[in-house]
Amino acid sequence: MCGIAGLIHRGKSSNVGSELQGMLQALKHRGEDSTGYALYGDTDGKNFIMRFKVGENVGEGSSSVMEDVSVYDERKKVVDQTLADIGAKIIKEERTLPYSLRYELEYDAKDLLNFSQTVEAIPGVEILSMGKSLEVIKDLGNAKAVCDRYSLDKLVGTHAIGHARMATESGVDIKSAHPFWGYPFSDVSVVHNGQLTNYWNNRRVLENKGMRFMSECDSELIAVYIAQKMREGATLEEGMKDSLLGLDGVFTYFVATKDSLGMAKDTMAAKPLVLYESDDLVAMGSEEIAIRSVLPQEIDTYDPFDGEVKVWQI
């Protein structure tokens, strides 16, 4: 089933980590195999923030193969050396969990494709997000468990999207969890509720154009599809509108960039979405109870129609 939620504050920052945690926890009945956050924090915008993993969570319910923790250490060393080789200087390093790391990098490059391909050429290493504001944090468990594990409740920023996952067509692991980074674009992330039926056809086409897929989760296609459209010169909104024709199946998805948040709904309107919009806040989720966790007072909400695409700026 899965649940998605997102919010964007316009003209101010807020404690988006805590707010999104509340929204996703309200949707935990839609799936708690894994939960993911894409948080757009307040930064000075100088350095890149890279969230990456050097292994999988092999806890209860995981479909991943257990590895010795020493393997994670070895991979980290290779990552550090690789970053040095390509001229990315590590300014700050955090290792929240043995397999999950956060680096602040001083790196001067507009196209992250070469950077990403080089880092991810290291076996077992996956970049979860790369950007100057975006941080993707995803792990097994419900929203509160992941939030507590990564101490996300204090994160202040302008907008965020998240996903509560019930694993269906792919494994219970971090690589299949949402949000997906819009590789190789800085600060682009995607969450999706639904099912895409032309995943393999699109994947083959996009891989031939040099795009990468890290999982077999159909939702990853949306991130890659939008990213490819943007590489070809489309705006975010143009890419999203194009996806309504290019993607087949039932879906509601969110895309976020450094300064915007968008939603798209398929032409069958088969997946739910409830939306609240005011001058200073947009909040949306698979169910109204997600919005109620941040706006308990009586508000006006609505369901976007079939084939609708909307984009909001901070």
Partner: protein, 284 residues
């Protein structure tokens, strides 16, 4: 109401104004038998007093707890119940099978007022997907917007949304009336088999797709027609009925019904036209 003792069994429903379609050919009609009247009362329903009023705050209740408490209040004879702080909770007010004046001070989540038969409900907020699914009789009024599958498979009663509704409104409906003050999404009236849908605003693509029977009235623009949906002539009796229905629903005041489009099924099916239980009850 017509004197039912003086009309033939076959024309009772028509005389009561409940069944206006005249079916011909091999379409089969089986009509209500008054001897079966005793089979149409539910076990576990209550005789309530509308003047006996109470409030129920469900802020800290789960949906099952809230619904049990509503049932408990009805068992005490409360006929007017005001629900405070529904907060978008799912499945509130389901399975009410007797007369009741129920007011929600706020919004409901999914499946609100599902499988009800008889209550008069006002929701001073929005409702999520599948509101009033399987409604048999009664009236449900939503002051704001509604989600998709609004009035799915209803068999009777009036379901009124003063705002806009999502996709598949009235999907599989088998009777009753759905009235929408605003716009409606795609696949409105999808596979509807009977009953009427009134939309004062615009409607999305595939209107009335695969509809078997029933009638859809649209005041605004139509995105596209679904398979089997065709235009029909808007008669003067249609206009009278629309005016009367909108007035009772307290919606669309001064709306010019003469400009509405009427959409019906362009095909005929056999063997599905037995009278629905609501009409049987009405004929008792």
């Amino acid at each position: 109401m017509a004197n039912l003792k003086t009309v033939s069994k076959k024309s009772k429903a028509q005389s009561m104004g409940m069944h206006t379609e005249v079916l011909t050919g091999r379409t089969q009609q089986k009509f209500f038998n008054p001897d079966e009247a005793e089979n149409f009362y539910y076990f576990g329903t209550y005789d309530v007093d509308f003047n006996k009023r109470t409030e129920l705050d469900v802020l800290d209740m789960t949906a099952p707890e809230a619904n049990k408490e509503i049932d408990n209040l009805m068992s005490q004879g409360y006929g007017t119940i005001v629900i405070k702080n529904p907060q978008g909770k799912h499945s509130l007010g389901v399975g009410i099978l007797n007369k009741l004046n129920l007011i929600f001070e706020g919004s409901l989540g999914y499946f609100g007022m599902g499988s009800c038969d008889g209550p008069i409900v006002r929701i001073n907020g929005r409702v999520g997907w599948s509101c009033a699914e399987n409604l048999m009789a009664g009236k449900v009024v939503i002051e704001k917007n509604a989600g998709s599958c609004f009035g799915a498979a209803i068999r009777g009663g009036d379901l009124i949304c003063k705002g806009s509704v999502g996709a598949r409104t009235g999907i599989d409906m088998k009777g009753g009336t759905i009235i929408i003050g605003g716009d409606a999404g795609a696949f409105t009236g999808f596979m509807m088999q009977r009953g009427r849908i009134i939309i004062l605003g615009d409607v999305g693509i595939n209107l009335g797709d695969s509809m078997y029977d029933g009638t859809i009235f649209v005041g605004g623009e139509i995105g596209s027609y679904g398979s089997d949906a065709v235009d029909a002539e808007l008669t003067s009796s249609d206009q009278d009925w629309l005016k009367r229905k909108l007035k009772v629903a307290e919606i669309g005041e001064n709306f010019d019904v003469s400009k509405m489009k009427k959409i019906v099924a362009g095909k005929k099916l056999w063997n599905y036209d037995n009278l629905e239980p609501t009409e049987k009850k009405g004929a008792i």
